[in-house]
Amino acid sequence: MKLATHYAYAVTIFLMVAGMFIIIARGNLIKKLIGLGIFQTSVYLLYVAPGKLIGGTAPIIDPAFEVYSNPLPHVLILTAIVVGVATLALGLAIAVRIREAYGTIEEDEILAAELAAVRES
């Protein structure tokens, strides 16, 4: 019953936890970025879902309608999506540079390379 009425929240929480899990549990930098993307997406849903009222129309004042959906969350999330895209692009760019510098994008291999460098010096 609760699950049916709170469907959007259930999906939000699932995406949030799944994204966090991928960030923590995966060593591949690209996979980490995918996890980060899923994690951010959950927030988009958290904002957008409550903006829609069942039976609500677009927020244009008209005597025929009384219930309006709130457009503000969509606008906010448009901004958040832009921020998310910028973050992803930057993350990928740094991952490319890491590949050039270390020859790998696996976290454990990067750490091993660092340890080896420390031992040598």
Binding site: L46, Y47, A80, T87
Partner: protein
Amino acid sequence: MIADHLPILQVVVPLLAGPAIVLLRHRQIAWGIATLASWAALAISIGIALQVADSGTISYAIGNWPPPWGIEYRIDALGAFVLVLVSLVGAVAMPYARTSIAAELPLEQEYLFYALYCLCFTGLLGMAATGDAFNLFVFMEISSLATYVLIALGRRRQALASAFQYLLMGTIGATFYVIGVGLLYLMTGTLNLADMAARLGQVADPRPLVAALSFITVGVGLKLAMFPLHQWLPNAYTYAPSVVTAFVAATATKVAIYVLIRFSYSIFGPTPFPLLVHFNDLLLVVSILAIVSMSLVALFQEDFKRMLAYSSVAQVGYILLGVSLANTSGLTAAVSHLFNHGITKGALFLLVGALALRAGSTRLADLSGIAARMPVTSFGIVLAGLSLIGVPGTAGFITKWYLVRAALERGSWGLAALIVATSLIAVAYVWRFVEVAYLRAPAPDLPRPGEAPLSMLVPAWLLVAACIWFGFETSFNVGYAAQAVQQLMAQVAR
């Protein structure tokens, strides 16, 4: 006329400087524009601070859309205080950057550094100026994204790995902040901070508020390197270019702490639930752990820059300790330490940059006897180090004095003793530099022996002088801070 528009100019001037630099693609002009923008920002922030002291909180409606519908810039004494800190550090760091960046970055990347600096600067100023929760998120991400790149500019490849780690943790932090703001938005239907605070007073069920406060605390905690969420900080500070470390260490974490204080006091303070009590209990534990463990970790570092980075986490602990004590002295210590620690760490990291330029390394082993070759730099580090410890006659002492007073007002002798004892650990790690630099024989072959160039020494010494100056002349870092605290406390009492 123009005085009415200072709040927006504060943000727009550096924001326009960034793209202008990218369009002109010339490194000398880039440096000129960035420096002028920083100085203009400093002048504007001082103007705002005087205006706030004179006539109270400034409210500026962007595009003339009245708040709470439009975005409002709302600058009270605390905001003005943080604006002055950020723009002061920026204005000092930019003249320094010219030599330092020329030595550390490839020629063709230099103008990009200045563009990114301007964006980072914009974001930090915007966070302190805005009165809108979502606008704050956007500025937070502007400054953070620029900071990730600035850190990745470091010469060694570890800079890339640290920037990536910071990107992951910083983005998780920002997203947590947005979740918290989203919950508050669902509760109140507004994003204007003042409006939100007024409406939260009528909320009947505390549960969403607890969730929102938790998300915001953890999210902003990641940004401000609250123990144990500080994992990104030591690597990022160690491998970033010198001037980036100095600027980011002196400003970014401070602005994030400002956000935490803003939310905990101005937003959650007026709610009818005892949220702040639990918040402060948590903060107390976290800050004590930060101070003790991070001071000890700093003590055993082999790299001087890394040592100072760990010391930064400990110093953030002192600020949070002041916040958690939740009385006037404690908050005054916290707000004042934003500034005191900002200029102290700024001075130290700028001088460390000078060491890195001449000695080619910041490892303590490579710095032996450096005081004989670079007496001015080394002496500056000792003076700023005294301020880091909190010796009377320096800015750092002011904080410790108010912190101990706040602890005693709470009747907690143990806490007062702890503050003094951990200051002694700071003595120990600053002494490690003194021992290496002054008492050991100089290394036989420094790569480029000689004192650092004046263009680096003068800005760094300006901040060192400020550490001493603000230890005696406290009308700004205590007087103004006390005014800010008074406003905060009034909001909670309401």
